[in-house]
Symmetry: C2
Subunit: 314 residues, 2 copies
Amino acid sequence: MNKFDLKIVALAGGVGGAKLAEGLAQVLPPENLTIIVNTGDDFDHLGLRICPDLDTVCYTLAGIVNPDTGWGRADETWNALDNLETLGGPTWFRIGDKDLSTHLERTRRLNHGIRLSQITHEFCRSWGVLPMVIPMSDEVVSTKVYTDMGVMPFQEYFVQRKCQPSVKGFKFDGVEKSHSAPGILEAIELSDAILICPSNPWVSIDPILAVPRISSALAEKKVIAVSPIIGGLAVKGPAAKMFSDIGIQPSAFAVAQHYENLIKGFVFDQIDSGLIDKIFHLGISPYVTDSIMRTTEDRSRVAAEVLDFCTLLV
Amino acid sequence: MNKFDLKIVALAGGVGGAKLAEGLAQVLPPENLTIIVNTGDDFDHLGLRICPDLDTVCYTLAGIVNPDTGWGRADETWNALDNLETLGGPTWFRIGDKDLSTHLERTRRLNHGIRLSQITHEFCRSWGVLPMVIPMSDEVVSTKVYTDMGVMPFQEYFVQRKCQPSVKGFKFDGVEKSHSAPGILEAIELSDAILICPSNPWVSIDPILAVPRISSALAEKKVIAVSPIIGGLAVKGPAAKMFSDIGIQPSAFAVAQHYENLIKGFVFDQIDSGLIDKIFHLGISPYVTDSIMRTTEDRSRVAAEVLDFCTLLV
């Protein structure tokens, strides 16, 4: 099978996942790519519904993401937040002026009873995003972090407390009763392979995998994961620290073990090529490459390699 | 009595009222000035509570108003609205990025049960506004405009339809049961004179006068109005057109008649000095001056003259 003919469903969180998603969007025809995005990080703030991972993925695919941070908007201004600070309002969550109206308009539509998946679809059309981007569920699922300082919502752990508390575990409030958003089950059924993007396994991918119908649908499929851990470190975010806090040596191998019962193939960085045998002994096909995606070209190259690897497994 | 010792309560709507309020703030010690602001124009938009007159008055007193328009913020950016337009959101009401966060933070606090008057007080402190600015009521009062195209909320008439429909009358939904915001009755009781700023009589001042306890408290007081109509035209806004639509020749005299049972003194422009006798025959003391307030200096001069006129009447 030619890689361009593969029908792919990608599971993604924020910045790392968005980068591979962008690479896949460069390589695949848009109708062959569906990206299912974590919404466990979503929260209400300033009366607005904020969906950080969904926005990061959409902004990245639209080419309007801030290239320096990987999240938020390019050429952003901060006048609203500056005035909010003057007024003594909460500014710990950084929302630029362009970004703000995404939350405003999403919240306005949600309040009119429009589903998050429908809103996301319409936003993508406005931004010129061609692949299908679907939030994992239209229902509210809220990631909570168990820490040595108590249980807290993800954004409090991540942004307000800067990942300082030591993590003991996670729960995804509401996930047991949640339903996958419309189109997800069909996309999975029609897909040739499922790609788990290099996102945080604990808080970006696990919430998606915990949606009951998604989890059962994936059991039938060839799943390939790309490691977010390179040389024992997370490219971005707290994934490595979470492994350590929980008592697991952070490594690409730990990521492969995390997904052990789910994946058939595992892509990781050449710096970790010493792990090839260990991955193989988990019953997982290893694929090693230069997996750091700094540039647009890196992303399409990694995506193309991952897709070529998929053609060998499906 | 020296004009600097006068305790003044000013009733104000938007741009015109804000200009005289700013003049008064330049002349009077802050503890001698209370500004009661119309909230009949307030409305919900994009999930936010927007108080156009209150913001215009506060921004003007804070020196952060857009000097070209008289409303909104100086040095404003429009990134949020531009992105909202891309998303197909409603952009007929022009909200800049700085302005936006005022509505966000106000809405956030209202949702926490904080009263509008308290929020306004806190915002004024943040912006360095020293005189007391009080919304006419903490309860929702909504100005509706009866027109040849039906009854419509004020902002629909004013902004969306650009004052095109012919006006037949007004109602202020909720005003009969509304209570004046805390501090208003005390300020009126302690005041030496009440100034009706050069705001739209129909939709800026009448809603304030329709709050039951305000109306009864004013009956005991010396009230002086400043005409918003100069040479038959409104300096800004639809006041003259409203008089015409209703079948009254727009003029400073029509304004004096509008307030006939309430006011003891009336300030109007020198261009209308031919009306002096007619005003006098209403039993109202006339005062004529150059009443157009283009510059900061104009505003303090007009305010000082109005206050000198007050000293003659109280």
